[in-house]
């Protein structure tokens, strides 16, 4: 049982897919490196920090990408983004059972300025294009960098997000919020606060993440296979998007005046919010599923 967080991108992908089925596109030996980093006299990586591949997940064909969080915080540069876009476009042509995005990133690679920003926006467009073609896209988040910035938006464009407790999902990272709003509003060094506001448990309770899994590659693999089967091949619909908009508007109303995520959890029906951080993944998932069933029955 290997820790998902402690594994690097290649290890995650190799163990997530069925043994021996991983076939990498543009492998390191091709040396497709960032031209911008070379100009800036900064170290490059032979895969520009992302592994893109085809393979099988429990016997079904999938396309998958894993960001290497160790390389510049998993940030998306021009080549890195183009590899993700190429994978998603390939999905439209090949119609695999799903595209799996193993995200571990702070967002855009600022060294690459506009090229990086455009790359991220192209990834967003490609995720939606793949979904519109009926190919489900799943985002898996459990790396040390979490998933922030433009890639946080990409994750929210996917059919489903799967997170571990250690994973984080957000738009602005903790330091950015503290810088913009002051340390009294948000202390980025308060790790418990950071995980309460962006961690896997909070995201799962609010519904941004479909489910919480333990920090093992095997748990992510099992959850990805189940979610892939549950997604089906329905294309994006306007009705679905409008429903999501209504859900977000309701959430904004319901959380008005909340000072801490624990207030939000209480509002969602969690009996003892202070106990949530100590629950293991299985116990937490049971509780979250019960709350959701209750909510569905009420709605």
């Amino acid at each position: 049982m290997s820790s998902y967080m402690e594994s690097n991108a290649r290890e995650r992908l190799r163990h997530l897919l069925d043994t021996g089925t991983l076939h990498e596109f543009l492998p390191p030996a091709k040396r497709i490196v960032s031209p911008h980093l070379e100009q800036l006299d900064t170290p490059v990586a032979f895969d520009d920090g992302v592994v893109t591949a085809s393979g099988l997940l429990q016997g079904r064909p999938v396309l998958a990408a894993a960001q290497e969080g160790g390389f510049i915080g998993g940030a998306v540069g021009e080549v890195h983004g183009a590899k993700l876009v190429g994978l998603l476009r390939r999905a439209i042509a090949e119609r695999p059972a799903a595209v799996l995005l193993l995200l571990d990133t702070g967002g855009v690679r600022l060294h690459e300025a506009n090229a990086g920003l455009i790359a991220v926006s192209e990834v967003m467009r490609s995720v939606l294009a793949a979904r519109n073609a009926g190919v489900p896209v799943l985002a898996l988040i459990g790396g040390a960098n979490g998933c922030f910035g433009g890639m946080g938006i990409v994750a929210c464009c996917a059919n489903a997000v799967i997170m571990s407790e250690e994973g984080r999902l957000g738009l602005s990272g903790p330091e950015v919020i503290e810088t913009a709003h002051g340390v009294e509003e948000y202390d980025a060094r308060d790790r418990a606060l950071v995980w309460r506001t962006s961690g896997g448990k909070h995201r799962t309770l609010t519904g941004d993440s479909r489910r919480l899994v333990a920090d093992t590659v095997e748990a992510f693999r099992q959850a990805a296979a189940e979610e892939m089967a549950a997604c089906g091949h329905a294309a994006l619909s306007l009705e679905e998007l409008e429903q999501e908009n209504r859900m977000l508007a309701q959430r904004l109303d319901a959380t008005e005046g909340c000072r801490d995520p624990q207030d939000i959890w209480l509002g969602l029906g969690v009996a003892d919010p202070s106990a949530v951080p100590m629950l293991d993944a299985e116990a937490f998932q049971r509780m979250a599923a019960q709350l959701r069933t209750k909510e569905d029955a009420g709605a």
Binding site: P27, A29, P43, A45, G70
Partner: protein, 105 residues
């Protein structure tokens, strides 16, 4: 950044027909080692691209030790380094050679 090139002649462990492998990550205090077969007349070539400038003599010593252990022939090794210590470099090189010659990952 600094580029260093090394060539060691008359190796024995033949890389021909093996699959290229990459180990490690381009991350602070770490390095990425790409190892692949290459027709080099029995030599092993090592290209180093490092963020730590001025450690030529240490690289020469660490790589000579490595080649003494493995005696690679017809192999090209390419390194992207972000200030890894000599011990880490040695471990990654052994890991790379092992994964290519013995197929362990």
């Amino acid at each position: 950044m600094q580029r260093l090139n090394f060539r060691f002649e008359q190796g024995e462990a033949d890389g021909a027909g093996r699959q290229p492998q990459v180990v490690g990550v381009v991350s602070s205090g770490n390095l990425e080692v790409l190892i692949e077969p290459a027709a080099l007349n029995g030599a092993c070539e090592i290209d180093v691209h490092t963020a730590a400038v001025g450690f030529d003599a240490i690289w020469a010593a660490v790589l000579a030790d490595f080649q003494q252990r493995w005696k690679l022939s017809d192999v090209r090794i390419s390194i992207n380094d972000v200030g890894a210590t000599p011990a880490v470099v040695s471990l990654r090189l052994d890991q790379a050679a092992e994964s290519m010659l013995e197929g362990t990952q």
